[in-house]
């Protein structure tokens, strides 16, 4: 009587575990391992096996009948029995994916000096550093429409930083704002692309304006120190007499 073959079973050496990776996503395949071999089943006998299955480094290709007997390909006599007591698992479960280990980059030991250098591009000045006396003198008779577009912060030493556009045409040092960085007009970082990194490094919470001078020195000015420019407010601003 001719045996009723139900599926094809592959026998691979245990060392070929990694080779199963290429058929991991094919449907219906299950596998089990013992000390020496890997067994793969779930391949229909009637169909031509998937090309990826055909490429596996199999030691032996078996056909299984409904009594779990194993027949060598083309043989009518079983020569082994499938061990069903093994732990059969779907391939995706058996072959768990491991993410590659992220290797630490080579530490950078050489430091790159960041400098302010004359800039090749022009930008509109959006801040002005001047004295309180100059600012007060301007505001005394300044048009309200000009003041309304400005904010200012003053310190005890009588220095005033005015922000906004258009800036008043009064003596002082002009600055260009990028994010919270205020760079002297006509200057930029070398390399220019480092501005974002510097802003993140020096003021990650974005709670300050960072005022740079041409030598690269900088100071933090809290955002809350800036108030709307009004004649009343400017007149009321006093520098420390000491």
């Amino acid at each position: 009587m001719k045996p009723v073959l139900t599926e094809t079973v592959l026998q691979l050496a245990a060392t070929q575990y990694m080779a199963l990776g290429q058929v991991r996503c094919l449907p219906g395949l299950t596998a089990a391992t013992n000390a020496h071999y890997i067994w793969v089943r779930g391949i229909p006998v009637s169909d031509k096996p998937h090309p990826l299955i055909q490429q596996l480094p199999t030691l032996c290709t078996w056909h299984l009948d409904d009594h779990n007997r194993l027949f060598k390909k083309g043989s009518l006599t079983p020569t082994d029995t499938l061990n069903t007591s093994l732990s059969w698992k779907p391939l995706p479960q058996l072959l768990e994916i491991e993410l590659p280990t992220s290797l630490l980059p080579q530490p950078v030991l050489q430091q790159y000096p960041v400098r302010l250098v004359p800039s090749a591009t022009t930008s509109e000045a959006t801040a002005l550093l001047t004295s309180l006396d100059t600012w007060r003198s301007y505001a005394e008779t300044a048009p309200l429409s000009r003041l309304q577009r400005l904010t200012f912060a003053a310190n005890a030493q009588g220095r005033v930083l005015i922000c906004g556009t258009p800036l008043p045409a009064i003596p002082g040092q002009a600055f260009v704002q990028t994010q919270q960085l205020l760079l002297p007009a006509g200057f930029d970082f070398d390399p220019p692309g480092i501005k974002t990194l510097i802003a993140q490094q020096l003021d990650p919470q974005q709670e300050h304006q960072l005022l740079f001078d041409t030598t690269g020195n900088w100071e933090r000015i809290p955002q809350h120190a800036f108030v709307q420019a009004t004649r009343r407010g400017i007149r009321a601003t006093q520098s420390d007499p000491a």
Binding site: T141, L144, S145, R146, P166
Partner: protein, 208 residues
């Protein structure tokens, strides 16, 4: 103390409280109101450009009473034309900057008064009187679309008033007020090269 309370709430909150009946103001109320207006003047001049004009108590008191009665008459519609004109007397045309600025402490609310009265007919005596006062006190009526019927030289001759007047014209984009050459010069000086930014359409308003 209806007038002094009225001034306080008007200045501090921008709201008005009026009595439901028309009674004369008591002397104590008027004295308190006068003190309040002087305090209001001292506080307000810190926002004025340059050296603000002095305080004219009579002009300030007239303006405060005018605004109070006008607000009252918007609500009390049973008072006839004569009553309206008696309650809202005119004041001598201002010839001094002090009067212009002191009256403005309360007359600056004329545009709001006219807005409150917008439901009334244009021929209504109250609307006519508010409009008449707006034309006589141009410093306080920018943006109301009412042309002055007096010369504005009392304003243009005082640097602080002129700049403040110009600020108001720019804020309300009142192009009609720029017909006075001195005012136009000051408006242009204030806008500088930023007319398109500070007054969009400014140049278009004066193209032939």
């Amino acid at each position: 103390m209806i007038l002094s309370s009225f001034i306080t709430t008007l200045v501090q909150d921008g709201q008005v409280t009026i009595a439901a009946v028309v009674n004369p103001f008591s002397s104590d109320d008027l004295a308190d109101a006068n003190n309040l207006l002087l305090e209001y003047y001292r506080n307000d001049l810190t926002d004025m450009p340059g050296q603000a004009p002095g305080f004219d108590a009579d002009a300030a008191m007239w303006a405060a009473q005018f605004v109070y009665r006008a607000a009252q008459l918007i609500m009390l519609r049973h008072i006839d034309e004569n009553g309206v004109y008696q309650l809202l007397p005119l004041y001598d045309i201002a010839t001094q900057p002090d009067a212009v600025y002191s009256a403005d402490l309360c007359l600056r609310y004329l545009p709001d008064l006219l807005s409150l009265a917008k439901g009334l007919a244009p021929a209504d005596p109250l609307v006519k009187r508010i409009t008449q006062i707006a034309a006589q006190w141009p410093f306080s009526s920018t943006g109301m679309n009412i042309l002055p019927d007096i010369p504005v030289n009392v304003i243009t001759s005082h640097p602080s008033l002129l700049q403040a007047y110009t600020d108001r014209i720019i804020a309300s984009k009142d192009a009609a007020r720029c017909s006075e050459p001195m005012v136009m010069t000051t408006v242009k000086a204030s806008l500088g090269n930023y007319a398109d930014l500070l007054w969009p359409g400014f140049h278009d308003s004066f193209r032939d």
